[in-house]
Symmetry: C2
Subunit: 488 residues, 2 copies
């Protein structure tokens, strides 16, 4: 990292100025950024327009020199040539950080490449932490949001433990923001790096890993590593006390990784890349959905109310508890691919489970693994079974497939499960169908930070993610003599 | 098929009797079935209780002989021994069909197996179409619903073109009903086959394929074929004018297919099975999600208002039209795995596309495939681009990745796309994020039967499914000299 650049100013500014505000077009990016920060966010924001005046009641300053303070950050939303002029002004006024929204740089080749080189030189010479150009900016709740799309059009995730860094602005606000919100996954800060002329994924990994106190998990969507910096990225990841996850786009034949020479050292294809990432303790999901599943589990477990305590998954030994035989079958089918295994129950254990169940259900239930409690199940059966399974030490995680359709399952069941788990600290991953009328059950589990998923596959992926994370944490501890607790 | 059994009575009965109604327990399965059909469905339903009386205002008959009509179907929800007695009564009163809800038959082994053999003998000797035992019954809207769970607890899919047959009742009502409803996929009839002592998947394939006029797509969830009948199933599928899809559970080492000798002729493992199924023109999704994607597309295209007309996908040549570069990259990455290919545009075509776009967007847009229109896109750009791409013959399908976040995209965009496509008949599959506030855009596409998905992967799976279906239809036509139109 360029130690002289202060990335904290990008993500935790006290004050911010915005340039490129149209007084006529209410959809101009600069105007949207000014107004959303003025009305929705906590940063002190100042709009600049050469002619002053106001937009929607918010007064504008004629120049940087008119501002009452030197802002921590200048958001520049003008054409490429004017952008260079304003970066020079950042240098002149000693503004430590800038976000450049507009394009017209390296991505258009030729002149644009030269322009970007000049931009980079000014930034480095003057120690300005420049994000972009050609980016969608920063969302750092509750402080600032420089995403130049109207807030009412986009979906914002809640505050949480995940630093989210994306090379594509569209992927950030759609594939991540929408699905984070759906799943209740929270971000500490979300960053669109655009052309990454100055601030790149490696600098961000270092910042979020070492400095930012709110971040516990760092996730990247990349279409390739920054030229010449892959090695540094990997080494930083290897010693990071946060969980580091990368997801790559553009990985097929036509994809960037295969074609860009700068990643040749990693082998240039996904298989080799994937192997390399593992050696540096970087988690690599196989699909976007698996990435989201991982982040949901890790985010939940990063909060103080962690229902699993110190319990982790070392061997992948699970018990499947279902109220539908078919669901148990579908779940079992997936275990092997995800490095999990259904424990075998002894005859004694099967008899004990038989005794726990109500007299109607016990006759038709199946006590193999998957356990099928059948539609004759009562609340107390589920509660008792979870308590029983929690006490079996070789079971590292319970996969609970809960269909609330049987008429004797009450809306109290979520709370009853939460109570057992909170006492037992046994990892449990639950499946409950996404049906609005069962929201009360889902909520009572989520209030206790018990992860709920709406597909069987995600349940299996989540348990597998816990296992992978356990392994990396143990390896890091062994190799780097960490403190037991994250020291940030 | 046992030609003497009248399966139509199971799915299109005029009258139905229910036995096994508790007057004390308002959650008893028989009572739930009686009342939901009395109050919600169109079939004439009669409840039987040895002592008569009434439940919740609905009068009960003391015996079958007291009923004013001979019912088409008898639903039996009593213990196993009594069940045999009532099946004998079906024979005596010449009731042509029966659904047996309760268990205690082959699934418990020993005595149960003998009991099931006896049941089967009585049914066959007397030509009674028996469904079950140990099943959840039939949902055939708007006529009948014998699912013994309270309707307010479950989620019912709309009426549509898919006959849905499941070996697991839990999988039927949860994995299918919930997700069908979410995606707007409709069922003609849904059937839980349970132990399939008499009526099995092969008989149902024949019935839905040859007889049922509402069915155009037949989907099976199976944990193995009925003993000795796999060959007949495959041969029926090969000549079916409907699209046949199978999805198997229990396919891993511990799974049923690998362990049950009756499927040994198919090789006993998924890879061999999968190859065999293809040769019989049976579609086989790789995941439950892909199954749902297939059914959504096929269901939509089974309606009279089919926006793609006779256009099909033969070679898998697609154009990706996106407003986000990252989405285009992620989509491209998936094409190869699904047998699809992004067409190459000529320089002339790229210039023509440049001319179509608004002056701001054209400068920053990318006209390779994927096409990235960028956030500067206007409604008319999307409309014009779809019209333009529709006229390029070698493009078989447009994959439209529409993020409605750019402020100039209006809520009219869905209607404008629908209008172009309905005129052009070019297959189009759309991605729109699942965000409630964009429901108006989603609805205007769905009203014109244009399939909308909420993940990029499903868009790719849907185009791939159309390609596979085209191939099978062409092969069937070639081999069996079908009429051009489905002749049911």
């Amino acid at each position: 990292m360029n130690d002289n650049m202060d990335l904290e100013k990008l993500f935790r500014p006290k004050s911010m100025a915005v340039i490129g505000i149209s007084r006529k077009n209410n959809l101009s990016p600069g105007r949207i950024i000014l107004l959303k920060n003025e009305f929705e966010m906590n940063v002190d924001v100042y709009g600049i327009h050469p002619e002053g005046g106001n937009v929607e009641g918010v007064g504008l300053y004629k120049s940087l020199s008119d501002l009452p303070v030197t802002p921590d950050i200048l958001v520049i939303a003008v054409g490429p040539d004017d952008t260079i002029g304003y970066i020079r002004e950042c240098a002149e006024y000693k503004i430590p950080a800038s976000i450049i929204i507009g394009g017209g740089f390296a991505e258009i080749g030729g002149e644009g490449k030269k322009r970007q080189a000049l931009l980079k030189k000014i930034a480095i010479d003057n120690e300005i932490a420049v994000l972009g150009p050609n980016c969608i900016g920063v969302y750092s709740p509750p402080l600032l949001d420089t995403i130049f799309l109207p807030t009412e059009r986009i979906t914002r995730p809640p505050k949480g433990s995940v630093a989210l860094i994306s090379q594509s602005g569209g992927v950030l606000i759609d594939q991540f923001f929408v699905k984070f919100k759906e799943r209740g996954v929270g971000v500490s800060t979300a960053v669109s790096i655009g052309n990454r002329a100055v601030v790149d994924e490696t600098m961000l990994l270092e910042y979020f890993s070492k400095v930012d106190p709110d971040t516990r998990n760092i996730a990247f969507y990349l279409e390739g590593f920054q030229e010449g910096k892959a090695r540094e990225f990997l080494n930083l990841a290897k010693v990071s006390e946060d969980t580091v996850i990368t997801y790559f786009g553009g990985i097929t034949k036509q994809g960037k990784i295969a074609t860009e020479s700068h990643t040749a050292s990693l082998g240039g294809n996904l298989k080799v890349l994937s192997g390399a990432l593992k050696q540096y303790y970087i988690l690599q999901p196989h699909s976007e959905r698996e990435l989201l599943t991982m982040l949901k589990v890790f985010d939940v477990l990063s909060y103080k109310k962690n229902p699993f305590g110190k319990n982790t998954i070392t061997f992948g030994e699970v018990a499947i508890l279902s109220v539908s035989g078919g669901h148990g079958v579908l779940c079992s089918d997936m275990l092997q691919d995800y490095g999990l295994n259904a424990v075998w129950f002894t005859e004694e254990e099967k008899e004990e489970m038989y005794e726990i169940l109500n007299p109607v259900a016990r006759k038709i239930a199946s006590f193999n693994n998957p356990i099928d409690l059948t539609g004759s199940v009562l609340d107390k059966d589920i509660e008792n079974m979870i308590r029983y399974l929690s006490d079996i030490e070789r079971i590292e995680c319970i996969l609970l497939l809960l269909l609330p359709y049987p008429p004797n399952i009450s809306f109290q069941i979520g709370r009853r499960i939460s109570n057992v788990i909170s006492n037992k600290n046994k990892p449990i991953i639950t499946f409950i169908p996404y049906v609005e009328k069962y929201q009360m059950i889902i909520e009572s589990l989520e209030l206790s930070n018990i992860p709920v998923f709406h597909s069987i596959k995600e349940v299996v992926q989540a348990a597998s993610a816990l296992k992978d994370r356990t392994r990396f944490i143990n390896l890091k501890k062994k190799n780097y003599f960490w403190e037991t607790e994250n020291t940030k």
